[in-house]
Amino acid sequence: MEFILKVLGESRHLLLDAAVYILFGLVVSGLFRVFLNPNSIARHLGSGRFSSVFKAALIGVPVPL
C-alpha cells in the first residue's frame, strides 16, 4: 500500500510539472488545425527529390499528431 502511494506521489509530481505545458500545447495544436491552409501544404510536397522531403520533415516537427 505504501509502495502504491509512493508511485502515485511521483506520478502526481510529474503531472504537476507537465500540466500547464500540456494545456498550452493543446491550444496551439487546435489553432494549427483551423488556421493552417491545407492547400499550400499539399502544393509543396508533390515534387522535388529533396525539397519535398525537406518541407515534409519540417512541417512534421510542430504538427502534433
Binding site: F3, K6, V7, L8, G9, E10, S11, R12, L14, L15, L16, D17, A18, A19, V20, Y21, I22, L23, F24, G25, L26, V27, V28, S29, G30, L31, F32, R33, V34, F35, P38, N39, I41, A42, R43, L45, G46, S47, G48, R49, F50, S52, V53, F54, K55, A56, A57, L58, I59, G60, V61, P62, V63, P64, L65
Partner: protein
Amino acid sequence: MLPAAVSLRKQGATQGATTAFLISTPESGVDSIAVTWAMMDPVMTVARPASAFITAFVAGVAENLFSYRKGAAPAIPDLTCPVDGCCDGVGCDPEDHRNHHRFTEKLRAGLKFAVTDLWGDMAPWFFFGLLLAGLITVLVPEDLFSRHLGSGLPAMLLMLAVGIPLYICATASTPIAAALILKGVSPGAALVFLLAGPATNMASMTVLLGTLGKRATVIYLASIAVCSVLLGLAVDHVYAVLGISAKAAAGQAAEVFPIGVQWIAAVAVVGISVKPTVQKLRSIIEKKGSVAAASKTKKESAAEANCAPEAGNPLSPRPPCSGAT
C-alpha cells in the same frame, strides 16, 4: 497520425515526403516540445525536434533515392472546412472559403478538436506513461544505470530495443525519459528512446508494410535506428562539451509557475482525460472479450483482411488499422 500521412500520399506527396512526415510528426510536436521543456532541460527541448527533423529528412531522402519519379500526379488537397465540414472547398473561392466562419467559431472548433480528438487519443497513454515513470522513480535504485549502462552504445541499443516495438506517443514518452535520466541514463540514450518510441510500433509497421511496401519499411526502420543512435551519441557529446549534467536540470522548468497554477492546470488536464481514458479502458476490455470469441471461429483471418491493402489502390485508408496516433 497514419491517416494524415496516407492522405498526404494520396494528395500527391512524394514517397519520401510521406516517409519524412510519418517520422517527424509523431516524434515531435508543439505539445511534446512544451512538455519536454517542463520535464527536462533546454538542451533536450532543442535536441528533440532537431533530431526528429534530421531523422525524417534522412529517411525521406533515402526513400526518394529509390522511388522518385518525375512528373507524378499533381496534388489535390483536401479543402474541407475544418470547422464543421459545411463545404468541401472545391470550386469555392479561397477568400470566400476562409470566411465561412467567424474567428471565434474557428477558435472554438480548434480547441474542441484539440481536447476531444488529439488529447482524447493521447490521454490514456499519457497517464500510462506517468504511472510507468512513477514506478521507475520508486523501483529503480539511484545508481543502477549510472554504474552499469548509463551511456555509450550499449545503452543506446537497449533503448532502441525497448523503443521500437513500444506504442507510445511523444508527449507520453516524455515523463518516462525524464525518470530514466534522473536514474542516471545518459540524455543521449534517453533521446534514442524518445525518437524510436513514438516513430515506430508494431501496429504502424503492419500498416507501413501494406501501404508503402517492404523495401520502404526496411528503409524506414533502418533510418530511424541509425539516426537515433548517432544523434544520441551526438547529444551526449554536447552535454560533455557544455559541461552540464542533464540530471541536475531535469524538472527545473517547473519552478516557472506557482504551485497554485500547476494544480489548476493539473485538475483541468485530469478533467479532460477522464472520458477518453474510461472509453479506452472499456474498449480494451470489450476487445479482449470479442477477440476471445472470434478466435474460436475465425482465428486471425478477420484481422488480416482488415489490414490487407486493396489491390490497385494500396493507399486507401484502412480505419481498423490506422487508429495509431
